[in-house]
């Protein structure tokens, strides 16, 4: 996914994707380009599983669609807000976080290990499907082989990956639509699909949280893509036109599959529809691309945390290697059955981390209570001393803890929204409290010292 935007913007060197600096004006893209990239990026095969799971879990297609729509709207707004910060700073998510978290505190959002989980889950999901095709081979064998194979591009560099990526989207769309066609051939057709009722195992609110969890981690890094935007409206247009419709296309397709077959495991769903072979091909290509993306994201954000903690740069490819090794060890342990709990967990874990940056930019930076004491902090160069000498924003700690607890423990509403709103409120309150306690004054003293040196 990230390689699509960055490939389109690369200079003559393969490593120049402005990882440590703002994107220059000459490399920025229009909202049309970003919309198409997000449309394609949002379509991932695991959304079929999510649609199946949420529909069966909430008791049927009507409830499933409500949960999906609610989750998709939240994600689109979440993407737009995160992306706007990326547009404003023209920096990737990890670099943009420096403004809210501090040059040392950026280790918190940089510790992006959620995508290691996504790598393992996506690889395991594909293995469960291929075992249906080749039951003679133990799923554990597939898990080990796939875990190693799916880091090929990021670790070694596989030029043919570009070709695979180009054919993935058409196969994904074709498989989805063909699956819907097969659903229409089942007894009762679409009327029966709409009317089918299943024993509910989750509420609609929980379903919304699962839907949000499918893309929360990716959406929190919207700045990685929207930093290439030319205008402010590009972030919102790309999010609501590109991401929203691409996301809905896949997850609603999965919802229809689930409602038609009554199965909650994607392998069983494909078997019931008689499209295991096509589905396996689609999942192979799509999950390979998704896993490469997950390992890429981990390898670009974790080194920031490692550098902050150890003061040493860590080669990106060793992170990729680590992801592959972890996957080899645990992918064969029926990980795909943890898909729903994993999504639900991410649904309230990730929003608080991004909520801090959103609250800092949209609220606190416009007030006199910004933790650095600056009025126009986001207009400053992210690599300048003015920004870097602000090390750690203490207000992030209570905000993150509160957000996590609210998302985890509050039994009413939607956990993702509870976590997000709670983080924003607590962050703003603690910014004011810490200003009153004199912490902002210390940061302003640093500003004055720097000004006097200059």
């Amino acid at each position: 996914m990230s390689t699509k935007v960055e490939t389109a913007n690369q200079q003559t060197t393969n490593t120049d994707d402005f990882q440590y600096e703002p994107v220059p004006k000459s490399n920025r893209k229009t909202w049309v380009d970003l919309t198409f990239v997000w449309f394609g990026a949002a379509m991932v095969a695991q959304l079929y599983q999510a649609g199946v799971t949420v529909t069966i879990g909430t008791g049927g297609l009507p409830n499933g669609l409500i949960a999906i729509l609610g989750g998709a709207l939240f994600l689109a707004l979440f993407t737009a807000l995160n992306g706007y910060v990326g547009y404003k700073t023209h920096c990737n998510a990890a670099l943009s976080s420096r403004y809210a978290y501090g040059s040392v505190g950026v280790a918190i959002p940089g510790c992006h290990v959620a995508d290691i989980g996504w790598y393992v889950v996506n690889a395991a999901m594909f293995c469960s499907i291929v075992t249906t095709l080749f039951p003679q081979i133990d799923i554990k064998v597939w898990a080990i082989l796939i875990s190693m194979l799916f880091i090929t591009n990021n670790y070694i560099g596989f030029s043919k990956m570009v070709i695979l990526n180009k054919i993935t989207a058409p196969i994904l769309i074709f498989t989805g639509l063909f699956g819907i066609y097969k659903c229409s051939l089942l007894p009762g057709g679409f009327t029966a699909i709409w009317s089918n009722v299943f024993p509910p195992t989750m509420s609609i609110s929980a379903g919304v949280a699962v839907v949000i969890g499918t893309w929360a981690a990716g959406c929190s890094r919207a700045a990685d893509y929207m930093r290439f935007a030319k205008e402010a409206k590009d972030s919102f247009l790309a999010s609501f036109l590109g991401f929203f419709f691409g996301f809905m296309l896949c997850i609603v397709t999965g919802a229809i599959w689930g409602a038609a077959t009554g199965t909650s495991e994607i392998a069983a769903t494909l078997s019931a529809l008689g499209i295991v072979g096509l589905g396996a091909l689609m999942f192979f290509l799509q999950n390979w691309a998704t896993c490469e993306h997950s390992s890429y994201i981990t390898s670009t954000s974790l080194p920031i945390t490692i550098e902050v903690v150890t003061k040493k740069k860590f080669p990106r490819r060793f992170i990729v290697l680590g992801v592959g090794l972890i996957a080899v060890c645990i992918c064969g342990l029926d990980i795909q059955s943890y898909y729903v709990p994993f999504c639900a967990f991410l649904g309230y874990l990730i929003p608080p981390i991004a909520a801090v940056s959103i609250a800092d930019y949209f609220i606190m930076s416009k007030t006199d209570f910004h933790w650095t004491g600056h009025k126009n902090f986001y207009d400053m160069d992210v690599n300048s001393e003015d920004v870097v000498h602000h090390k750690f924003n203490l207000a992030t700690i209570p905000a993150l803890i509160a957000g996590l607890l609210l998302g985890w423990k509050l039994n009413w509403g939607i956990s993702s929204i509870n976590a997000f709103v709670g983080t924003v409120v607590v962050y703003c309150v603690f910014c004011v409290i810490f200003t009153a306690c004199g912490l902002q004054k210390k940061e302003m003293d640093l500003n004055e010292q720097l000004a006097s040196r200059n």
Binding site: D138, V141, I144, M148, L149, Y155, I156, G157, F158, L333
Partner: protein
Amino acid sequence: MLNWIFLIVGLLLISLLWNVITVEERRKETRIVCCVFLCLGIVVYFLQTVLL
């Protein structure tokens, strides 16, 4: 037995792919990594089949 053969052959094929497509400067590192994955894959599969 089929599973063991498939596992080892699969790991060797992926290792071969990696060694073919890797750049010359990283060939030695790639070989070491392939050996690590081969050994780890065998150990992991052995443990998972014995313990689970």
